[in-house]
Amino acid sequence: MTGLLEAREVSVRYGSLAALDGVDLCIHDGQRHALIGPNGAGKTTLLNVIGGSARPQRGTVRFDGRDVGRLGPAARARRGINRIHQRPAVFPTLTATENVVVAALPRVIPRRRWWPGGRRRAAQHLAGPLLDQMGLTAVAAVPAGHLAHGQRRQLEIAMALAGRPRLLLLDEPAAGLSAIEVGRLVELLQALPRAVAVLLVEHRLDLVYALSDTVTVLRDGQTLAAGTPDEIRTSPLVRQAYADGVA
């Protein structure tokens, strides 16, 4: 059985530093996969390679059976790989609704293809329920730049979902959120459509265990261990890595 995403033998070097050294990763449709490891283990680099904003020196990335190694982030987004950034990336002068509309446009299917404004209207229809789902209806007309950090995070998730993703890359989504906001985030992520596969990079292990069904541990650019959350939790190797890597 082949996966939705298959990364093989991926290596990325920055000068003499090997950020990734022959990493394999396979994600199936609907799988919730977490990537953990100490700082500098190469988690974000791997996310960049999969999202298309970094090119590996060696290795292949296949998505949905096709080699996407030569495609940039935009082309990969059109194929269904969407990303949430460590710092929420939204369009500050556009309203929350407009943000979602813009994110929805490339993948929206208008009812009447050649009707003027059809795409926009279809995207607009998508935006309302998504904002509602994220609890942003009250601020739908507020420029995104005026939203609080937690709201921007929720908006970014709405934008990612508007792009009808098949694989969602989450880069430390809980960074900078309050405890209440983190709880809400976990609920939102648990409520994601079951068909969407997720690759989550996160430092907080409680979130990892709550959200994922498979965990890969990276260390120094290599795969240290992979397994279910329970296996990882009890692995002495992983404990050792965290004891070394994190103070």
Partner: protein, 336 residues
């Protein structure tokens, strides 16, 4: 609530200005009327500059290039083919769009100050070509004696300055209306998003280069149409109408007016041109000096202005996800 009031006030002011512009030719003398007609043409080029600089985030010094292409195309067509205004407008807009399309590969992959330099070079090259290609352009002597335009088949030729001014006013108002409508569509929304954060737009799957190319070509068409209005107003054109001072003046006007709004661009362009023409009388020979000083002052303030509006001044691959920016003022705000 407050937004509503401001919007209404703005609409009221716009209506007043429009009424003023309509009655102007009966109030002022013929010479001023013809200057006003020329100013209208320049203001329309200013709109195209605002479209690129403010909405799409590509600061440009080269909109004189499609402006000149449109003007010369219109002059040649007007002298040799047809004196019908609609024909001239379409030909001029097509010429401007064509020139813009040809320069797309040079412009859309660059950002910020680099765009300024490239567009400046394009504008200067066009002026040089106009000076050298004597068989078509008349060289530095320009083209004179272009017959008066008739707006549509069956209409009389517009013999008076007033009539030509009103023709220009109708065309400019119509085209600005079209631009304002288009900016409310998907195209305008995506352009504004790209100005905010190009990397983010790409991450959503948008083809940013395609959007920018479209904006560049549309701005070229607008500037080309403005060129045809210049021909109508002056019945004479020469390369001197399209020099660096014109593009610098337009960019200055647009920046002062607040780059992101079409209305601001119009006010800014009109203001700068009025200052230039007024200074021309008060301080003969020193107008360029004063405008140059104004330009330096504005450019000195530009980093704050351009940052928020007009995000493309950051290097291409720098992380683009700064939290926003309510602490960064636009140039317009700094002026208040």
């Amino acid at each position: 609530m407050r937004g509503e009031v401001i919007r209404r006030a703005r609409g009221g002011i716009a209506a007043l200005v429009l009424v003023g512009l309509v009655v102007a030719p009966w109030v002022v003398d013929d010479y001023t009327t013809s200057i006003l007609a020329r100013t209208l043409a320049l203001a329309l080029v200013g709109v195209s500059v605002a479209l690129l600089t403010g909405v799409a985030g590509m600061p440009t010094l080269g909109q004189t290039a499609p402006y000149a292409a449109g003007a010369y195309a219109c002059a040649v067509v007007g002298s040799r083919v047809s004196d019908v205004g609609v024909v001239q407008l379409v030909v001029a807009a097509a010429a401007g769009a064509l020139l813009a399309a040809l320069t797309v590969p040079l412009v859309v992959h660059a950002r910020g100050v680099i765009v300024l330099m490239i567009t400046l070079a394009i504008g200067e090259l066009v002026v040089i070509v106009l000076g050298r290609w004597r068989s078509v352009t008349g060289g530095t002597d320009g083209l004179a004696g272009i017959p008066a335009v008739r707006p549509f088949w069956g209409f009389p030729a517009l013999a008076s300055d007033q009539a030509r001014y009103l023709y220009a006013l109708v065309v400019v108002a119509t085209l600005i209306g079209v631009v304002l409508v288009l900016l409310r569509t998907r195209a305008g929304l995506v352009l504004r998003a790209g100005r905010d954060d190009e990397t983010r737009l790409r991450a959503s799957g948008h083809r940013v280069a395609v959007h920018l190319s479209g904006a560049h070509i549309a701005a070229g068409a607008i500037a080309g149409a403005a060129g045809s209005l210049l021909v109508v107003a002056q019945q004479y054109i020469s390369p001197a109408d399209f020099g660096f001072d014109t593009s610098a003046l337009l960019l200055l006007g647009v920046v002062i007016g607040g780059t992101a709004s079409v209305g601001g661009a119009l006010v800014g362009a009109a203001l700068v041109i009025a200052v230039r023409d007024w200074l021309f009388g008060v301080l003969p020979g020193h107008a360029p000096l004063v405008l140059g000083a104004l330009f330096v002052a504005t450019v000195y303030l530009l980093p704050t202005g351009v940052n928020r509006a007009r995000g493309r001044l950051r290097p291409r691959d720098a992380p683009a996800h700064e939290p926003v920016a309510h602490d960064q003022a636009t140039v317009a705000e700094a002026h208040r």
